[in-house]
Structure formats: structure tokens, C-alpha cells
Subunit: 408 residues, 2 copies
């Protein structure tokens, strides 16, 4: 039997999806599982988007241009203008989800063995894309105590070697919910300019900023037009994860020309999804206002509930729909599995994502979990009750002395 | 300005799409261009497929399972059974087009520097996927004189080195239209078994076999269950190239487990396309009978017309919707560009794909073009008239002595 590749062996299994068999077993055993483990929002996809699909009128479902349907790219340029991002449609390449935008950006900009600095914890699949393209991730640690703010620029500079080619951020951040300030982004701008690095920014949660906080895009930064690669997606914006429509946006013409060759090899992004995404740009502002109101309420509820629990700490994030909480436990992986395998409260349990999957450093995040507050308040209430009850009886719970010591 | 990667520089631009600017210019100048350059069929997508999209009923366009929607995979297993391909749904992974199936197969099975033997001419994008994953293509040449039949197994064996990991075929073939016989596939089976190689088969043109010729799948071959990886797509089958739905099928559990890790990194294949593709399985047999009748008529017309032209030779292919013709010219790239830039006949011209783009060997195919007979007979008639007239006046035409010499 022929052997599979080293890369296939090295590819990390999804840390978010690895607990799925346990949740399936729990459901089969009749238990209700609250899914706070995955960023699949329950918010309905905008009507304009679904109507575009229901009114799909092409007789032949053709390939589109490899860079995407031109009318969509032009309309998308208009969408960005509303966010003060001034790009021409020729600077936009439509991709199959944000995932493909990241894959193509890595392959286009980094050689095998090149290094990319990423603040951790970070979106776990960056690991997969880096492994795929032979890129080496160098994590710079951010901490729950500061709400996962940008690590100091000195720390970044210490990581820079001859092989460093790029810095990658996610803003607002999955998994932390942290929203970078303008000052933090300006500091990154200087660093990127000084060392002539690429700056990749995954900004798929742009619409999810709370408390009136100001959103700054890497595209707002001046003097680094040739360094910035924006990675985007309609998945979260319109609660349309399954459409698989994203975008790679850059003013660097060489990067765009290189990226286009990868895009041509795979022919085109999905036509149905593009038709829907083009229509989605007309989603009324009220939709986003409602969504924002709903998520703010959910976040407020979850963060408050978590901080009220004995020995639990959760910073208050200003973006996306995630938060990371520190629990009085020693091993989040074991705890999350135990929740599904061994625990129930009134026939219910909760599924969380161990934060370890979002840290690159091996021992980091062992007492942290990521919570996606993507369910209705009523469900979140039940989920938080489950979690509180679970922590009371969990055999691996830290004794309070350990917790207090850490808190100091 | 930071530099792009070596890989981005090495990626081949699509040889099929590189002439697009010339055809756009021709159209802007008011000329009618007959597109025989690209496998974008004009056949309508089946009604059952379009209806499924028009009746799309999910309220939230969710991610699917990374391996695809389970009900679709199960139904697809039923589709394969009708073609005597006995696979369980767990042996099927849905991909974003056949393109992604090839990408994932290469990354899963071959290491950087490993060699894959491919009969040439072959589908040009195999080059792109190989470059992407650092795989080395070793071409085995097939010839127009034998209709592009499988090169002798001795030739394959001569190519095998310590680094050879796989053989890849396309059956029926794009770009040649050649349909491998059972005997040819049995010969490949023995070779693959003897050297314990992977056998990749791109069988996306399964439905397009003519003259009652028997279709043999690599999945019909016995004793090589762990070697075979089938690469499939709904693009051509249902004239739904834009749906971007394909599949990677293998009975090798290690390969499937490895492939799944790449699939999880990119989350899921497109939901809309999967819903449409699941419905498409109910396409009535009459649809395919009509399509087959239509393509047979088109092929008959084109091949006959080509062979009637002075100095032109075109074998009669039994599958797909392509043929390769040898023209009395010295440089197909120049000729195809000239057709768009300099030629017109009654305000019309024709766009062909130079065959050079499908050969790996640098000097091969210089007097050959690939013709996709994807237009209605009426359009094909005009296109063939254009070609015939063009060959009469083309300044780079070979003198007849050269043509005859080659024919001998």
C-alpha cells in the first residue's frame, strides 16, 4: 500500500471538530447539546441574499471569471468604500471562502520555510494553511489578563529573523473577540514598513464591533499599500458560511498577478454563492443594527454569567462573537470531552472549544475555553447553567487555592 | 516592496485563458468570436438541479460537514452503483470542484519532489496543481497518429524512478477525447500493482462516451483498492461548471483520513452547489441520451469538417467533447492569436486552444490545436468555415510538401 505524504501526516486535525464524535454520541444518548464550540451563527441569512438564489435565472450554471463575476467585484468595491476602504475592483479577487483567500495569500507571498508572525491565540486553521504551504508560524503570545491586546512591538521585533516574511492578524479577533485600536494598528504599520513585511489581515468580523468602538482596517493605514493583503469573507457578515465566498484584496499588483495564477488553476469561485453575495450587498442597514444589538446582548449576558461563576474569568471583548474564558480546571481538552461524555444537567450539556487548539505554544491555554455566543439568549442561559453546574462537580476542578494563586 | 514567492513566479498562467484579452479586443472591434477554446458547454443545466436552487429552503446558509452533506454523499454512492462502482458514502469526500479533488489528492499522496507520471497531452491545470504542491510531472507522450492511445507500458516503466509515487490519467481524456480501453486499463492496473503506485483517475467525462464504446473506470479494476483515487466533478456531467462541486473517492482509509484534514482546514464545500448537485442525481436518463446524441452529432460534424480541410488531420475521439487536430501550421500559439488579432471572415473568427499548453514537453504539439465542440451545429458550421478560410490565407501556413512529409 503506497504511503501518504509527510504533509498529510503533519496536517493538524481541526481542534474544533475533533470533539464532534462525542457530541454525536451525547445526542444519540438523548442529551441536548448547546453548541458554543463553533462560529456557526443562528442568525438568519438576509432575505435579499436568499431571494437572489430563489430567483436564480441562468440556464447554464457557468464558470465565472477566475477573479469572480465582474459586476460582483464592482459592487463589492462600493461596499468597501462605505467602510472607507478605497479599492478598485481590479484589486479584489473573489475566493472560495475566506479559507481560500488565506491559502492563496500564503502560497503567493511566502516561500517554503518562510516565517509568519501571528499573535496567539489565533484561528486554528491558520495552522492547517501554513502546514499546507510549508510556511512556519511564529506565535507572539497575547494574554487573557489584558483581554488579548496586541503584544508589544518589541516582542514582535524580537521574533523577526532573515526568514520573516509576514505578520498576520485577525481583527476583530477569532478566537478572542479583541478589537485592535488604531494605535495598535499604527504600531504594526511602522513595524511592517521598517522591515518591509507583508501584513495579512483577516477582517471577516468587520460588522461585529460593539460599544461604539471604532474599527480600523489595515486598508486605512498609509504608506504600506504594497505590504497589505486583506482577507475577507461573507460567511459571518451575512450568516452565510455555506456560500463559501471570500475575497483577497491587495493594492500590490505583483501579489494580485501571482494570486491570479493560483485562481486560474482552480478555474473559478462558486457561481451560486457569488450571485447570492452580490445581492447581499443590498442588505438593509437595519439588518446589521439588529444583529449588533442581538450580539451585544448575548455577549453582555455570557460575559457577566461567566465572571459570576466561582473561579472563572472572562475579559469583555468588543468584537466578533467569541470570548475566551479562564476556568478553574487543569486541562480544557479533558474538560470539554468530559462535558460531552460524562456530564448532564437536566438532560442537557454544553459543547465548548478548548483554547489549546488556538495556541501554537504547547502549554498555553490549558485552562481556557473559547465560547462562541451564537445562540439565542434563552439557549445561552441554559448553556451557562450547565457550565456552572458542571464546574461544581467536575473531578478535575482546581482547588480554590490554585485559582486564587493564579489570579494574583 | 516585499517579494512574491518562487511558487507564485513558477505557477503557469492558464494556457487556455491567456488568449482572452485578444478575444475581448476582437469582440470590442465588432467581430463575432466562436469559442471552441474552453470546455464550457452550452447545454442547459438539468431542470431538477435548477429547481433545487430555486426552492432553496434553509433559513441559514450553514457550513456543511467538511466531507460534504451526508444525504448527498449517500445519494452519490447510489449514482456510482449505477456505473458499477461500488463505494460506501464514507469513501466519498465532496470537494470544491474537481480542481480541489486533484489539489487535495496531490497534497495527500505525494511529497514535495515526488514524481507523477502523466500521459501527455494532458489537462493543463495539472501543471498548476503540481507546481502548487511541489510535485514533479513526468510526461509520457501519446501521439495524434494513434488517436492518443495509452503509450506502451514499457514507456511508463522506463519513467519509474525511486521518486515515482503515482500515475495520473484522464478518462475519457481532456484534451484528446480518447477513451481508454479495458485492456489499456488492465495494463495500468498491473503496473500500479507491481510498483505499488497511486493511480489517480480524472473521470469527469464519464457520461460522454460515444459509438456504444464501453467505459471502464479505475474503480472497476480489482486488487488495487488502496492505490486508486478517483477524481470527479458535476461540472461537465450536468453542465454546471459554476456549481464547483466535485469529489475525491478512495477505498484507501489512510488517504481518506489524510484528505479529510485538508478538507477540515477549508471548512466545507459550497452548500448551494451541494444542494443542487444532490438534486441533479435525479436527472432523467433522457437528458443524457439527448446530450449524447447532440455531442455525437457535433463530433461527427467537426471531425469530418476538419479532415476535409487541406492538410488537416483529426482522429475520431470516442469520449468527452474535445478533439485535437493537426493543422498545416508551424506555431499553434501564433496561429490562435492571429485568428483573433488579424483574421476575420464575414465579420467572424474562431478561438481555439493551442495544443502546446497541454503538452509538458517543450516542442510538442506546435502544429496542433484543441477544439471543444461545445457549440450548436449551426455555430460549429460557421466556426469550421472560418477555420478553413483562415488556413487558406494564414501567412505562417506550411507549404504542402512539409505537410505531406510529416504525414509519411
Amino acid at each position: 500500500m503506497p504511503k501518504i505524504s509527510h504533509k498529510a501526516n503533519a496536517m493538524p486535525a481541526s481542534p474544533i471538530r475533533k470533539l464532534v464524535p462525542y457530541s454525536e454520541a451525547a445526542k444519540k444518548a438523548g442529551r441536548k447539546v448547546y453548541h458554543l464550540n463553533i462560529g456557526q451563527p443562528d442568525v438568519e441569512t438576509p432575505e435579499v441574499m436568499l431571494n437572489a438564489i430563489r430567483n436564480f435565472s441562468m440556464k447554464v450554471v457557468e464558470y465565472s471569471h477566475s477573479a469572480g463575476i465582474e459586476s460582483y467585484r464592482k459592487k463589492l468595491a462600493g461596499y468597501y468604500k462605505k467602510h472607507n476602504i478605497d479599492v478598485d475592483f481590479s484589486e479584489i479577487m473573489i475566493t472560495t471562502g475566506g479559507s481560500e483567500a488565506i491559502e492563496i495569500a500564503m502560497m503567493t507571498c511566502l516561500n517554503e520555510g518562510d516565517e509568519i508572525i501571528v499573535p496567539e491565540p489565533f484561528y486554528a486553521n491558520y495552522n492547517g494553511f501554513a502546514t499546507q504551504s510549508g510556511v512556519v508560524i511564529k506565535p507572539v503570545r497575547s494574554y487573557i489578563e489584558t483581554g488579548f491586546a496586541l503584544p508589544s512591538i518589541t516582542k514582535f521585533e524580537k521574533m523577526i529573523t532573515r526568514k520573516t516574511k509576514a505578520i498576520m492578524i485577525c481583527n476583530p479577533s477569532n478566537p478572542t473577540g479583541y478589537l485592535y485600536t488604531k494605535a495598535e494598528l499604527e504600531a504594526l504599520r511602522e513595524l511592517v514598513q521598517k522591515h518591509d513585511l507583508f501584513l495579512f489581515a483577516d477582517e471577516v468580523y468587520r460588522e461585529f464591533c460593539y460599544d461604539g468602538a471604532e474599527y480600523t482596517s489595515v486598508m486605512h493605514l498609509t504608506g504600506i499599500n504594497n505590504n497589505v493583503v486583506l482577507l475577507d469573507s461573507v460567511s459571518k457578515r451575512y450568516s452565510a458560511c455555506g456560500a463559501r465566498i471570500g475575497a483577497l484584496i491587495t493594492r500590490n499588483k505583483e501579489v494580485m498577478a501571482g494570486a491570479m495564477k493560483f485562481a486560474q488553476a482552480r478555474l473559478s469561485p462558486p457561481t451560486f454563492g457569488q450571485v447570492a453575495a452580490e445581492a447581499a450587498i443590498d442588505t438593509p442597514a437595519s439588518y446589521f443594527e439588529n444583529v449588533k444589538k442581538e450580539y451585544t446582548a448575548r455577549r453582555n449576558f455570557v460575559v457577566e454569567a461567566l465572571n459570576k461563576m466561582d473561579g472563572v474569568f472572562c475579559p469583555n471583548p468588543q468584537g466578533a462573537f467569541y470570548c475566551i474564558a479562564r476556568l478553574p480546571i487543569n486541562d480544557a481538552d479533558e474538560f470539554c470531552q468530559w462535558l460531552l461524555e460524562k456530564f448532564e444537567y437536566k438532560g442537557q450539556t454544553v459543547m465548548l472549544a478548548p483554547a489549546t487548539g488556538f495556541y501554537f505554544s504547547p502549554e498555553a491555554g490549558k485552562d481556557e475555553v473559547r465560547i462562541a455566543y451564537v445562540l439565542k439568549i434563552e439557549d445561552l442561559k441554559n448553556a451557562m447553567i450547565c457550565l456552572e453546574e458542571a464546574l461544581k462537580v467536575y473531578p478535575g476542578r482546581k482547588i480554590m487555592e490554585q485559582v486564587k494563586e493564579k489570579a494574583i
